[in-house]
């Protein structure tokens, strides 16, 4: 009975339907499930990216029609011997026929002729409507198919086809130039920078009415398009069997005849092969556009993605552009799956297609194993060649023939990083994928070498006709890759771009100016020794010796093995890499040292980074463990010790100066340590009494410590505050070897009492505020800091470049005087974030990339709307994130001017988003930070490889109202004076017998500059905003509080005022008096006070 009633209930159709309920059957629901912000964002991008063809390319269709009719009407001429025809033509039309090198011999026996093209067709992204607005230029490809009658059977050999082609295109060019002389500019160009394929490019002339210059400029900018006339071969001109990658078809240009007959010419062959595929691919793409509605959009997405990474069809851009992308997706939609099925379904959406294509690129190693679409009959061996292979068996073409091994691996790197990103639930996916321009050399590569040499002749003599520079690079790539081995993740060559040239001139000579970018493997690059095979393996050993030459030596190692090895004399990763590069290029390619410039080396010299730093940090941590043991071994302490944790930046590999054990300076660097006792009920239930009890504890520990170890000296230090609810004192403990610690005690009851006081509504507001402030401080010092220290230290050991990057970034903040407002721990989080979410790149592998990407992140981060979430423990859920986001929104709603809460920075152990940013930066400082980072990134982008790193660290003093020049002499003497016992021995009359040299310096509470500025900040809280860098920095800058305007006098004004002359009750800030007060307070510590000129 019951079951039937249930069924009836379910069967109820057409009943009341709530609009909010989800119906799993409907299409809408499916969308809800699949949809994410990313999809919505890409939809928006697609809408924005498409140009308005009517507007942007107005009148292009007319031009194309006209062009076609002109070309069709060119009258044919009979065959003539090539040399005769060339001379006649060049004389008549003043056009230098762009024959590819080497030029045809004078006595070449074959004849050239002209016949009207069998087809004239527009192909490419103009037809498929897949152009995007941000292209540098809209290119419209028009192919002119040469009739088969022009060619002979053997034309595939010895460049004969290309000579005929060059003649053909020049012949057309002559005629077109005549017709379009008025409104089009004609020039030659190599198709995709392939030296074998000259084409004619038509660009509209800027209308030269001379009416309004600005208008013409605007117009020229708007209609920047070009029409490319591309001659191509008829279908099936040459059988594929003749032009497989293995065959040798060209012997021209090779000096050694014998060698020329043997070596295969894959590039030459593929170029020849590609000539007949324009029309078939056009057919394929048009067909798919009908089959798969999302296909054009997927092409647009791919085009954007490639363009943001600097990829394009041209050889210098990697040889993987829009066409290759489209063809790849098209082939995947048709073949590529199991059992001859399609790999992708045509019903996928554009985003899904895009993701699938990226996945394909990231998982297929194209260089190692040739990839063939479909399980075709073509065996892998027939299509194998040195470079990457993606073979289309139907059209019998290697799609990637223009790619080089390095561009293939770079493409794969980018694809991997993007697939990682798309799989990362936490990261923002859209911006790194499509918006951010990722091809800035310094943000991508750890080091860049520039090779400049005019002598490339020896590389131009191969028959494969890739061009001398490419040949050189292929050679260099082979050697450098072998040399670096596992030290480098990626070696990349940037070829010079080749532009267009005018019809009447021969093309410019190639210059050898190549950039080599290297991405390190940070785990291996610092290795100073290159290990080879053991001596017993003679063959291998001989190879090793052959490669390294004199540098290779045989050594016996501790474990008894005898290995071939090479030792490098440099210490830092970058310098080792430089040394290796110089040596390898010299040995194998005879490129001398002065032809290779290292770019980016200047970064590590900005602060003195050294390979010894890590061990200095390590030994500091080691020393801390000794200290911990000493404390734990103290007997009969009234309470049990739960934990000791260090909280200083030098205990987490993050201080600018590495910790030096011993007395190297006049002062002592102490490591802050928190001591946690087991929970106990013996503490007094009063905050002030707890503080006093803590002092008693410190004194007790002090007594026991000194009893246990006589060589320890201890000092009880006072915090800068009165007796109250906050911590009063700390114990400085100094070991004989110079290791020094500052011990503070944590009491768990204190935390609870404070919390209760904050919540207790019956108390006075002032008391509660005070308690809240104390609570926040306590939480920071005893809860957040130890965890933070632990986290950063762990990550520093996991990512080797993190430590030095943090130090360099801190120096950057110091240079821009932001350190006083932005906690160093917050800076560490910024850097860590750049390492944890490095998209669109891979994780930074050196200091340079780390620094620049951190700055890049800071320039992009919109802290007004976005919370920074550094998920150090990888345990924040989606809900945690969205709740943080909502929290930020409520802050903004409540306080739109951001007077109180400015940045929201959360980590796994602090989800309030405030712990790191409660005491600043203020809105003013935060926007200054963003501005500075933006300026730095702009500089990096604009200067490219010509960047002078010290510019990034230059302080801009002109932006401040007041500059206090501190006297370093006075400050040093304070440090010296306070480092000895007061009233102690007098200064010796001999300078070199100073008291200091004889005794150990005493610890001081803080650096004198910091003490002084701290006081000033307290006194002028509402008047001045101080900006300081490191303690040794000689200049402290300040801004007047911009909110202090003229106002009516009242007794509660918080700043030093004087009455405005002739204006009754009005008062304003008495700036001079304030500065005089500071000058009096500073005394000899201030050398000069400089006031910026006021504009008014």
């Amino acid at each position: 009975m019951e079951s039937s009633s249930k069924r009836r209930k379910i069967g109820h159709e057409g009943g009341i339907r709530h609009s909010g309920l989800i119906d799993f059957e409907s299409r809408n629901t499916a969308r809800v499930n699949a949809a994410s912000t990313f999809v919505l964002q890409t939809d928006e991008l697609l809408k924005e990216a498409k140009p308005n063809y009517e507007k942007a390319l107005h009148g292009v269709d007319g031009q194309l029609h006209r062009l076609k009719s002109i070309i069709d009407s060119i009258e044919p001429h009979d065959p003539r011997p090539i040399s005769e025809a060339t001379i006649k033509f060049e004389k008549e039309h003043r056009i230098v026929i762009p024959f590819p090198d080497p030029k045809p011999a004078k006595d070449a026996p074959y004849k050239v002729s002209y016949a009207p093209p069998s087809q004239c067709n527009v192909v490419g992204s103009y037809v498929s409507r897949t152009m995007i607005k941000t292209q540098s230029e809209f290119g419209i490809d028009m192919v002119v198919q040469m009739p088969a009658s022009l060619f002979q059977e053997k034309d595939y050999t010895n460049m004969r086809y290309f000579y005929r082609r060059a003649y053909y295109i020049s012949y057309i060019a002559a005629r077109v130039r005549k017709e379009f002389a008025e409104d089009m500019e004609l020039s030659f160009e190599n198709l995709n920078e392939n030296p074998l394929l000259p084409i004619v490019v038509l660009r509209p002339k800027a209308s030269s009415d001379g009416s309004d210059e600005r208008e013409t400029k605007k117009k020229a900018k708007k209609s920047s398009y070009s029409i490319k006339l591309i001659p191509c071969a008829p279908d099936d001109l040459f059988p594929w069997s003749k032009v497989t990658p293995k065959s040798n078809n060209n012997r021209l240009g090779e000096v050694d005849e014998k060698k020329a007959a043997q070596t295969a010419t894959p590039f030459y062959n593929s170029t020849l092969n590609a000539e007949r595929t324009f029309i078939p691919y056009l057919r394929l793409l048009t067909h798919l556009k009908k089959e798969c509605p999302a296909f054009p959009d997927a092409c647009i997405l791919g085009r954007t993605w490639l363009q943001q990474r600097g990829f394009g069809s041209a050889v210098s851009q990697g040889g993987f552009g829009h066409f290759e992308w489209a063809a790849m997706i098209a082939l995947l939609l048709q073949t590529g799956g199991r059992n001859g099925q399609a790999a992708l379904s045509t019903s996928l959406s554009s985003t899904e297609l895009f993701k699938a294509a990226l996945h394909f690129l990231s998982t297929t190693d194209l260089s190692k194993k040739p990839y063939t679409f479909g399980s075709s009959s073509v065996s892998v061996d027939t299509v194998r060649e040195a470079g990457p292979v993606m073979f289309d068996p139907v059209r019998q073409l290697n799609l990637l023939f223009k790619m080089t091994p390095w561009s293939a691996s770079l493409l794969q790197t980018y694809a991997r990083s993007t697939t990682d990103l798309l799989a990362d639930v936490m990261a923002d996916k859209f911006d790194p994928t499509f918006i951010i321009k990722a091809d800035v050399p310094f943000q991508t590569f750890d080091v860049i070498f520039e090779i400049q040499s005019s002598d490339v002749a020896k590389f131009s003599e191969t028959a494969d006709r890739r061009g001398a520079v490419t040949n050189f690079c292929l050679e260099a790539y082979k050697h450098l890759k072998r040399a670096y081995g596992d030290r480098a993740q990626l070696v990349q060559f940037q070829l010079p771009q080749r532009g267009h040239w005018s019809l009447s001139k021969p093309p410019a000579k190639e210059v050898l100016r190549v950039l080599i970018g290297v991405i390190f493997d940070p785990a291996h690059m610092p290795r100073q020794m290159e290990f080879g095979p053991p001596a017993e393996e003679q063959k291998e050993a001989a190879k090793f010796r052959q490669f390294w030459g004199d540098k290779a030596e045989l050594r016996r190692f501790k474990d008894g093995s005898i290995l071939e090895c090479v030792e490098w004399s440099s210490k830092l990763p970058l310098q080792i890499c430089e040394e290796m590069t110089h040596y390898t290029l010299q040995r194998h390619l005879k490129i001398s040292k002065h032809q290779v410039t290292t770019i980016g080396g200047a970064f590590s010299s900005i602060i003195s980074l050294s390979h010894l730093d890590k061990s200095a940090f390590d030994s500091a941590r080691q020393a801390f463990q000794d200290f911990e043991r000493d404390i734990r071994n103290l007997e009969e302490l009234p309470l049990h010790i739960r934990q000791l944790s260090a909280t200083s930046s030098s205990a987490r590999y993050a201080s600018i100066e590495p910790p030096l054990v011993g007395y190297h300076k006049g002062s002592i660097e102490l490591i802050d340590v928190n001591l946690y006792f087991e929970a106990s009920s013996k503490w007094p239930e009063n905050l002030t009494a707890i503080q006093e009890a803590k002092v008693e504890f410190l004194l007790d520990i002090d007594r026991r410590l000194r009893k246990a170890n006589e060589k320890i000296s201890t000092y009880l230090g006072r915090e800068n505050r009165e007796l109250g609810i906050e911590n009063l004192a700390f114990l400085d403990i100094i070991y004989e070897n110079g290791a020094a610690y500052r011990l503070r005690i944590h009491c768990d009851l204190e935390e609870k009492l404070l919390e209760r006081q904050v919540k207790n509504k019956t108390l006075e507001p002032r008391v509660r505020e005070e308690a809240e402030e104390a609570f926040v401080k306590l939480n920071w010092l005893y809860n957040t800091l130890p965890l933070h220290t632990q986290t950063i230290a762990t990550f520093c050991t996991r990512f080797p470049p993190l430590s030095s990057t943090i130090r360099l970034v801190k120096h950057w903040f110091n240079c821009h005087k932001l350190t006083g407002h932005i906690r160093e721990e917050l800076i560490e989080l910024f850097v860590l974030h750049a390492f944890l979410q490095p998209y669109p790149w891979k994780q930074p592998s050196s200091v340079v990339t780390g620094l620049l990407r951190t700055l890049f992140f800071l320039s992009k981060w919109d802290w007004r709307d976005e919370a920074l979430i550094v998920d150090t423990g990888e345990d924040l859920s989606e809900d945690d994130r969205s709740s943080l986001h909502h929290e930020l929104q409520t802050w903004r709603k409540r306080d739109p001017n951001m007077n109180d809460k400015v940045m929201c920075v959360a980590t796994s152990h602090d989800q309030s988003g405030l712990a790191y940013t409660r005491n600043g930066p203020s809105k003013l400082v935060a926007s200054r930070m963003t501005h500075l980072a933006k300026a730095a990134c702009k500089l990096v982008r604009e200067k490219g490889i010509r960047l002078d790193p010290s510019l990034l660290f230059e302080t801009a003093l002109q932006d401040y109202d007041v500059l206090f020049h501190l006297s370093s002499k006075a400050i040093k003497s304070i440090v010296r004076e306070t480092a000895v016992e007061s009233g102690g021995r007098k200064q010796s009359q001999f300078k070199n017998l100073d008291v200091l040299t004889a005794s150990v310096p005493l610890p001081i509470r803080a650096h004198p500059t910091d003490v002084f500025i701290e006081e000033l900040e307290r006194v002028y809280e509402d008047t001045l905003l101080f900006f300081k860098g490191s303690a040794d920095d000689g200049v402290v800058a300040a801004l007047w509080n911009p909110r202090l305007q003229k106002q009516k006098f009242r007794a509660g004004l918080p700043y030093n005022f004087h009455s405005v002359k002739g204006d009754g009750d009005q008062v304003e800030l008495n700036r001079k008096a304030v500065l005089l007060e500071i000058a009096r307070a500073g005394g000899e510590m201030i050398k000069k006070i400089e006031v910026a000129d006021e504009e008014e």
Binding site: Q41, Q308, E692, K752, N1056, N1070, K1072
Partner: protein, 312 residues
Amino acid sequence: MVPVDAAGDQFAILPIQMPPVPSFHETALHEVRIRRNAPKIPTANDSRSLFLKNIPADSTEPHFRAVFTALVGAGRFETITFEGEDKAAVAIDPARAVKAAALARKRKRSDVEEEEKAEEEAAQLPEIWTRRLYRSSSTAIVLLADEKSVQLVLKAITKLQKTKKYPVWGQHLSGDVPLLGAPWVSSHLRLSRANKAEIQKATHAFFNVFNRKEKEAAEISKRLRNEPDEDGFVTVTRGGKGTPANQFEAEEARRKMIEKAAKKKSEMKDFYRFQLRERRKQEQAELLKRFEEDKKKVNAMREKRGKFKPET
């Protein structure tokens, strides 16, 4: 300038000439506002004291003594109290003492009180600054010899407007003023390195006071437990007949209770079918909500121009 009305709430302006300093070669007039002292809670000395606003940050008693001497001659200035100095010493009462003391006020004998005060003073830690900087534009109260001096001072200030012979800051200082600048900072740093014996003594003194007060508080609350007040009610105070409950233990017990409740709740999850259904429904609603949120986010991005434009 406005004519100064010495009487009433009106502030008079006392300009002080600030001499140049080697690091800043300019002079300035610092304006101290001055009026008769009229605090909300009147005290005995109000009639012969002046209220000062906007005093220089580096003020000391000798500084002001010199200024007033320049105005009205020697012998009229008695003393000056700066803002924050008169604040009572921090209450070092144990938690319970405060409450108990509020309930039962008991007059102590004055000599006992005196003794206790001395003890409390001993509990204070030694000073770590040789001289304090006051917050910018802070206040002070000057105590003069008699009411007539107040009149004289105010008159002298009015006269200053005409003669323009302003007193100069830091001139004719009688008595030693601790230096600012480098000696000031270095002495502070030295004083911050405390003398262990002194501190030890201070903490001992502190706990003497503290323990005494705690004992007193305990006594008071014990007494209150037994004594009905005038209406016949007995005040309920913490701590039963046995040992008084410790705050710490109470908290521990509470935590345990909450934990237990949470555990019980989690065990009952997904027990009934309707719970499961409800949870699913909730999840779906959340999904829908998230979708809406995404849409909103993208719309917001669209409003900010350039978000969808790839960088070039």
